[in-house]
């Protein structure tokens, strides 16, 4: 078992009333799964993903990740946990504009305090695997959207995570670029990486082995 959510609630106070963003979410994710989360705008997809990624807190319920009770961990331990096991891919890529492709890939390793030679080897490996060696000295703004997302995925993978969380990874891409990224995800999943993606598109959702539908913060 990779992670388990039990009775997760998350709300905000609005005009004295609780508005639920997540309501009684129960979810078990095994290693090697490929899950697509679907639902209309505002149904809580991204919030769920952020909670799973430990970027966001929840108000009630239990969350264990690799048998560690996340809700009881301190901020620092939580950071260590997701730094080690989780990779993120965003709709807007979120590459750092001031860094080259090479440096963007290197960054997560810096925060893991790896030695220089190790970093070099791992980045070179990644560049090779995604066939972007020729682009390593370019800045993100010099790349097309598809290429940027490719770098984004590479960056998510470089720390060898167990879980990839992707928030509408193809949202800013055209269909051809989107298909390429989805194929890549499928291939990664076949290699054993667990993937949870949020998507609007039925076609992309079908890449997943399991589909979760959300409506107003509930699983339906």
């Amino acid at each position: 078992m990779l992670l388990q959510l039990n009775n997760i609630f998350k709300w905000v106070q609005q005009g004295g009333q609780r508005v639920f963003l997540l309501k009684d979410i129960n979810l078990e994710v095994e290693e090697g799964e490929f899950i697509s989360v679907m639902g209309p705008s505002g149904s809580g997809k991204s919030t769920l993903l952020n909670v799973i990624g430990m970027l966001d807190n929840f108000d009630e319920g239990e969350y264990s990740f690799l048998d560690e009770p996340v809700h009881q961990l301190k901020e620092k331990h939580r950071a260590n946990l997701y730094k080690q096991y989780i990779g993120f891919v965003f709709q807007a890529y979120h590459l750092i504009d001031e860094l080259t492709v090479y440096e963007n890939l290197e960054m997560p390793l810096l925060y893991k305090k790896m030695s220089g030679s190790e970093r070099k080897a791992m980045v070179a490996d990644m560049l090779d695997r995604f066939s972007i060696v020729g682009k390593k000295d370019l800045f993100p703004t010099q790349l097309s959207g598809g290429q940027q997302q490719l770098v984004g995925v590479a960056r998510a993978l470089i720390g060898k995570p167990k879980l990839i969380l992707a928030d509408e990874p193809t949202g800013n891409l055209n269909s051809k670029q989107g298909d390429e990224i989805m194929e890549l995800f499928k291939q990664l999943n076949d290699e054993g990486v667990t993937i949870i993606q949020v998507t609007h598109s039925e076609t992309n959702a079908k890449y997943g082995k399991r589909i979760i539908n959300l409506l107003d913060g509930r699983m339906v």
Binding site: L55, Y82, H94, L95, E98, L99, E103, P108
Partner: protein
């Protein structure tokens, strides 16, 4: 890791060159100016701190309670020093100290030297290291003198100075004295400045004054034994006072003086040598005010503060553009400390560059600075180990706080929030606003200070002092001739020159002439059972006429009346002090048998520094007392030629003496040189402060306009006019200026009130000074912000909307 930070820091700086440039320029200027200012402040504060035993050396002064309140005096009679040392325990060394020029001749040379007349302990107490000659006690012999290296060169050239005999004019006779030692030239920060030191026993009139307790004319410095406390010593002097000042205390009691808190009428007090330069005796006690150096330091601090505020504000405002980076770094595992160090190291870049450029700037500007502010700093001050350490610590602390604050703020942001690119709250805006209020408050403070200072200087320069200062030349009468004879010769020499309107002389100058000396002589006597004190001035004929003094009653001294040498003229304040209904009926006692009649009353005029109120003054025509300064009135045309004529005439009379003539208005200007320097300094400070505030304001307006581009676009689409948008964008800034005006004005008012209180004659601290300062700040703010906002408001809305 560090490499990565530096790299991204560098790229970020280069990406927005305008901001980097504004920041670096602002900080460099601030650092450069702050370095120069604090150097001159510390230099100013270093007065008299080179004496090895300085902690134990004090100037002796006394405070006496008079009917008018406590009065302090530093002058002491000749027997005072020796008596104090023998009668009061705790004095290790003591010296009398009198500054008086000594006409020194050596061969053909005849030079008026600034001499100090001191006791043999002088060189043991004070650290003026002996270069050549008797090192242990150079003034051991009564007929020895000590000269400085510069004086030795002046007198003897390259010849060996020690052992030479020079003739010094004492009491009209030339006395041969021997040079026993040469001391090094002085530190410039020395209030015991001299060219030659002579044993006090040689001083003119010493024989008559040796036991005279009622004639105070010299200063006394004492070095206490180790472990003797000042307070204890001051208490121990009480019986000494009772013994030697019995009569004086009786007189004080008779005139209605009230005892002080200790029940005493006269107390002896000690003032540390390091405080002497900064002491003023305004209310009867030594008040040590290091106002100038602290003011300078304050200005330096304020300028630095403004530049730092700019930096903080710009960093925080700019960080809005980097929120996504922060969020991304957090999702990739960056902890707070990582982010803090990253942003801080970026600030370090800017600061290192600015400090470097600042040092460079200060070394480039140091010469201009020195002439402008009449200070004698050098860059060597920066290389002393303490200076280096203090400087490094200061720079490090500034970097830590100023660079660290925005870094801390950024590292604390929530992950999701920053990924969405939104700042959580308006908290940082509040900080920004507070800082900008501070910044403008400082600018307004400095502007109003500048206005008031210049107002006061201008007032002092243009005030009618009661005498003619534009057309009168004064110069010291140096030389071996009898001064009366010399002045008479000058008269004869200048008769026939139609541009010379009058020649006279007196024993005191007006203002501060080129010889740089000012003196006071006070005469006290009993008049109808009451103590009266007055300034005394010995004058030659035509004094009133030459200086254009106005007679209120009676007549001036006249050559045709032989009795006038035993008559006196007084000023209005003196007339009031005497309390006679007709002052012309008064006779003042010169001694027990001799009484001088008052023959005239002169309208009050400012014979002392303009900061002082007009005090009683008495004119004597006593031919037995010396004259020290000649005054020549010239016609308002051809003044330069007349000046030359006077100089040439004097050269004929005293060919060996240096002519140190100057017009009285220059002399008066010299008396408020300190104020002028201060005014220049504050003016430059406020100009820099305003310029820096403008840089900050400009940067903020750039950022705010950038952040509100979309809003501006939407408003324009909905029909807003250019002017309404400009007003909308400028309004917020003006609100801040207004708040700072409200805060700064009372503070400025308080300090300026205190400052002006020093002056007996001063400008009114009217509200328009502050109104002008506020208006100026407002105008500058509108111009700075307006240029950006108008431009933004005029843009095509389609363009501004497209940026989203």
């Amino acid at each position: 890791m560090l490499k990565n930070y530096l790299k991204i820091g560098w790229r970020n700086l280069m990406k927005d060159k305008t901001f980097t440039l504004l920041n670096v320029i602002g900080l460099s200027v601030a650092f450069g100016v702050a370095i120069l200012l604090s150097m001159s402040a510390f230099f100013e504060m270093s007065y008299d701190n080179f004496h090895e035993n300085g902690d134990r050396i004090y100037q002796v002064y006394s405070t006496q309670q008079t009917a008018k309140g406590p009065e302090a005096g530093t002058t002491k009679p000749a027997p005072f020093a020796a008596a104090l040392q023998t009668e009061v325990p705790g004095v290790e060394k003591i010296t009398r100290f009198l500054e008086q020029e000594a006409l020194t001749t050596y061969g053909e040379k005849e030079i008026n030297l600034d001499a100090v007349w001191v006791d043999s302990d002088f060189f043991d107490m004070f650290s003026f290291p002996v270069l050549k000659g008797n090192k242990n006690n150079p003034l051991e012999e009564k007929l020895s003198v000590v000269v400085t290296e510069e004086t030795a060169n002046k007198l003897f050239g390259s010849a060996e100075a020690v052992g030479q005999t020079v003739n010094i004019l004492i009491d009209g006779k030339e006395e041969p004295l021997t040079v026993a030692a040469v001391v090094g030239n002085h530190d410039t920060q020395n209030s015991l400045d001299f060219e030659m030191a002579i044993r006090f026993e040689n001083h003119a009139g010493y024989a008559e004054n040796i036991e005279a307790w009622n004639s105070s004319y010299l200063q006394v410095f004492a070095q206490l034994q180790i472990g003797v406390s000042v307070q204890q010593f001051e208490q121990n002097t009480r019986s000494f006072v009772d013994l030697h000042y019995k009569e004086g205390i009786e007189d004080l009691k008779r005139d209605g003086a009230r005892a002080d808190a200790d029940g005493r009428y006269l107390q002896i007090k000690l003032l540390p040598i390091k405080d002497v330069h900064f002491a003023s005796f305004r209310n009867g006690y030594a008040e040590v005010i290091r106002i100038v150096p602290y003011l300078i330091l304050g200005v330096a601090f304020l300028i630095l503060f403004i530049a730092c505020v700019n930096f903080i504000n710009m960093s925080i405002a700019k960080s809005a553009q980097r929120l996504r980076e922060i969020g991304m770094r957090k999702t990739l595992g960056a902890q707070k400390k990582h982010l803090f160090f990253q942003f801080w190291s970026e600030s370090l870049f800017v600061f290192l560059a600015s400090v470097g450029i600042g040092i460079l700037l200060s070394s480039l500007l140091i010469d201009n600075f020195k002439t402008m502010f009449r200070t004698n700093i050098s860059l060597d001050m920066l290389t002393s180990p303490t200076a280096v350490i203090v400087f490094l610590i200061a720079a490090f602390l500034i970097t830590l706080v100023v660079g660290g604050y925005p870094a801390l703020l950024l590292s604390r942001l929530g992950t999701i929030q920053s990924l969405k690119g939104k700042l959580e709250s308006s908290g940082s805006n509040r900080v920004r606003n507070v800082l900008m209020v501070f910044q403008f408050g400082i600018a307004i403070l400095l502007i109003s200070g500048t206005l008031v200072l210049w107002g006061q200087v201008d007032y002092m320069r243009n005030k009618d002092l009661g005498f003619d200062k534009e057309q009168v030349i004064s110069f010291p009468i140096d030389g071996k001739k009898n001064p009366y004879q010399a002045v008479q010769l000058l008269r004869e020499e200048l008769t026939g020159n139609p541009d010379i309107l009058g020649v006279t002389a007196s024993d005191n100058n007006l203002g501060r002439g080129k010889d740089g000396s000012q003196s006071t002589s006070i005469w006290g006597f009993d008049y109808k059972g009451r103590g009266v004190r007055t300034h005394g001035l010995v004058v030659d004929y035509d004094y009133l006429e030459t200086l254009g003094l106005e007679l209120v009653q009676g007549r001036s001294f006249n050559k045709n009346y032989a009795g006038d040498t035993e008559s006196i003229i007084i000023n209005e304040s003196m007339a009031k002090e005497l309390g006679e209904s007709d002052p012309l009926t008064a006779f003042l006692p010169m001694n027990d048998s001799l009484h001088y009649p008052v023959i005239g009353v002169v309208k009050d005029y400012n014979f002392q520094d303009i900061s002082k109120a007009i005090e009683p003054l008495t004119f004597f025509l006593d031919r037995d007392m010396g004259l020290s300064y000649a005054f020549v009135k010239v016609a308002p045309v051809n003044m330069a030629r007349s000046f030359d004529a006077v100089e040439n005439a004097w050269k004929k009379i005293e060919p060996n003496a240096e002519f140190l003539g100057s017009f009285l208005d220059e002399n008066i200007d010299n008396t408020f040189r300190k104020e002028k320097t201060m005014a220049t300094m504050i003016t430059s400070g406020s100009i820099i402060a305003i310029a820096l505030s403008c840089i900050g304001l400009f940067a903020m307006s750039l950022l705010i306009v950038a952040q509100r581009t979309k809003e501006i676009g939407v408003r324009k689409v909905l029909g807003a006019s250019v002017s309404s948008i400009t007003v909308l964008l400028t309004k917020d800034f003006l609100k801040l200026v207004l708040i700072s005006f409200l805060i700064a004005t009372p503070i400025a008012w308080y300090f300026l009130r205190q400052f002006l209180d020093i002056y007996a004659y001063r400008i009114d601290l009217g509200p328009w000074f502050f109104a002008a300062a506020g208006l100026l700040a407002m105008t500058i703010a509108i111009l700075t912000v307006g240029s950006r906002t108008v431009k933004a408001a005029m843009q095509n809305p389609v363009k501004s909307l497209r940026t989203e």
